[in-house]
Each structure stands twice: as C-alpha cells, then as structure tokens.
Symmetry: C2
Subunit: 195 residues, 2 copies
Amino acid sequence: MKRASPRQNYHHGDLRSALLATGVRLLEGSGNADIGLREIAREVGVSATAVYRHFPDKDALLAALAETGFERLAAAQLKAAARYRNKAAAFRAIGRAYVRFALANPALFRIMTSHMHLTGANGSRGDNRAAALLRERIAELLPAAASEKRRTVTALQAWALVHGLAMLILGGQVPHDEALIKAVVDEFRPGETAT
Amino acid sequence: MKRASPRQNYHHGDLRSALLATGVRLLEGSGNADIGLREIAREVGVSATAVYRHFPDKDALLAALAETGFERLAAAQLKAAARYRNKAAAFRAIGRAYVRFALANPALFRIMTSHMHLTGANGSRGDNRAAALLRERIAELLPAAASEKRRTVTALQAWALVHGLAMLILGGQVPHDEALIKAVVDEFRPGETAT
C-alpha cells in the first residue's frame, strides 16, 4: 500500500482530497469503521487544526467519506457498464460492480450505507449518484410506456437485490462465490417481467 | 412494555429463556446493539454468576440472541404465510414478513445478520430456519424440473431482495413506505421468470 508522503503546504482543495483519500485507505487497512480525525492528520502529515478546518467534527468527516465512496462506486459502475454495448448486459454489469465494490471496500461501504442521514440534503433521505445511475439505466430497459411507479419499483428491486446480496456476503450468511453473484444478478431481468 | 418480575429461583431452561427474552426486550428498548450480561442479570433479578453459567461470554450471548431472533422471524413468516392458500401469495407474505420483522426489531436484526460467524455450525456460513424456510417455499413455486442451481439462485435472489430492502430502509436510504415494500416484494415472481 502506498503511503502518502507528508507535506506541510497543501492548497485548500488538495488537502481535503488528500485527507479523504487517506481516510479511505486507513479505513480499509484497519477494517475498522471507527476512524479518527487525528489519525488521518498524522498520516497526511498536517496538524489536527488543519484537518478541523475541513471537517469540523466526526460527522462531517463521515459524510465526506461516504460521498467519496459513492463517487468511487459510480465510477466503478460506469467503467463496468462501458464494456457492454447491449443495454441489458450493461445494466447487469452495473449490478455486479455494486456487489464487487461493497465486498472490496467493506468499511467504506458500511459508512456509505449507515450514515445516509448525514449526506442527505434534507437530512432524512440520502440521494446519491449511484442510485441516480440505477434509475437512469432502469428507465432505458423498461418499455417507454412503463409507469412512473413501475420505474420506481423496478429500480428499488434492483438496488435491494444487489445491496442485500452484498450485505449477506459481508455478514457471512452467504459464501463469497463470484459465480453465484453473477448468476443472482444476471437472472434479474427487469425488461422481461410480466407486470 | 412488561417488566419481568425479579425471581431468585429459576429452573435451568427457564432462566435461559428469561434471560434471552429480557435481552431482546432491552435491545429494542435501548435501540443499542451493545447489550451487556450484567444489565440483563440486573433486569431479570439474578446474579451475574447465574448468567455466566448460561452465557460464558458476550459472544455466547450474542449467538443465543441471534438464534432467538431467527426463531421469532421464522414464526412471524409462518404466521404470515398461513393466511394464504395460494402458494405464490404465501411466498410473498413470507417476504413482506421478513422486511417487517427487520424494521420492527432493528437492533435484534443487526445482531442476527452481523454475528452469523458465531451461530454457523462450521464457523463460516450460518444456516438458519428462516433461510431453510425460504428454500422450501421457493422449491414449491418453481417447476418440478427446475435445476438445483436454479433453486439456489432463486432462493438467494428472494433473500437478497428482502434483506436489501430492509437494510436500505433501516439505513435511511429508502423511505419506510408500506405500499412500496409491498410493491417491491410482490413484483418478485420466481415461478414466472424466463430462464
């Protein structure tokens, strides 16, 4: 694992990015979701005061880490989808990428999914790029005449399926088996259901 | 909420049941999954030593609480299914009961799903009555000719769907909306998929 070299002078935005990147790295390195601001400051080589300027408290840090996680997840999903020209195949690739991301970044994923109250604009429901991406892709797969309700339900079905699969594997209830993940995700065919 | 009356003399099995029932009640009352053996002992009105005789450590307590949770979940699912004669309708009722149980018992559900390494017979994969029930019901819905692989994949799909939906709602990512839960679960039609 690459260790960030300590620097004393960061531009404002650069330091924020460096702190978050280091936060994510420390998270996955320790496997412990309880990450501290001081630990990150030490690792990056800046004072705790400099960190507090960007993240006044733990919640602000967690919210920013969650946001970073959702950006990375969306990037991974887009990259996975780009390999397919067929829309249904691309959709399934997005689903598999979701599960794979969760399994590869368990501590970050836990923060992403348990601190939505911090990232949601209205403080209650967190919306994010990954969810928006899912809705867009679902819309492409459903018949043009599909109702708004059907779009919402199908998008949530797809999200719940991959989220549940990831959580069951992370919780040790289901073995981590790539072929099984592929089979479970691939058999979800939103364009083909009867309703 | 009923408070257990303190008793000094329990039969062995009775005390264990009383401790677990109290543990579940305290869990949901505090909303805190970090429950202590001493707290349970105090509540039931027995000495900590008496509790340690049943649960030598925290892990033993958590494993027993998880098992109690799975028993209650299976009972709730069977009760929900019993209201329907149609097998497909009963299956959907089982799915909705899973989500409803998780939302009604969040702290217990968290223990059930994050401590499977403690309850699994072989220490790696936790098997439980709720999962077994799901597999049985899936088998009834699929064509007799369905392959073993298809049964496994479809059962896991159904489980992942309700598990993911429950976790997304518990995490605040999806609003708690009974009509939406019903729609998402009811649109899962394992007997009707193309594959």
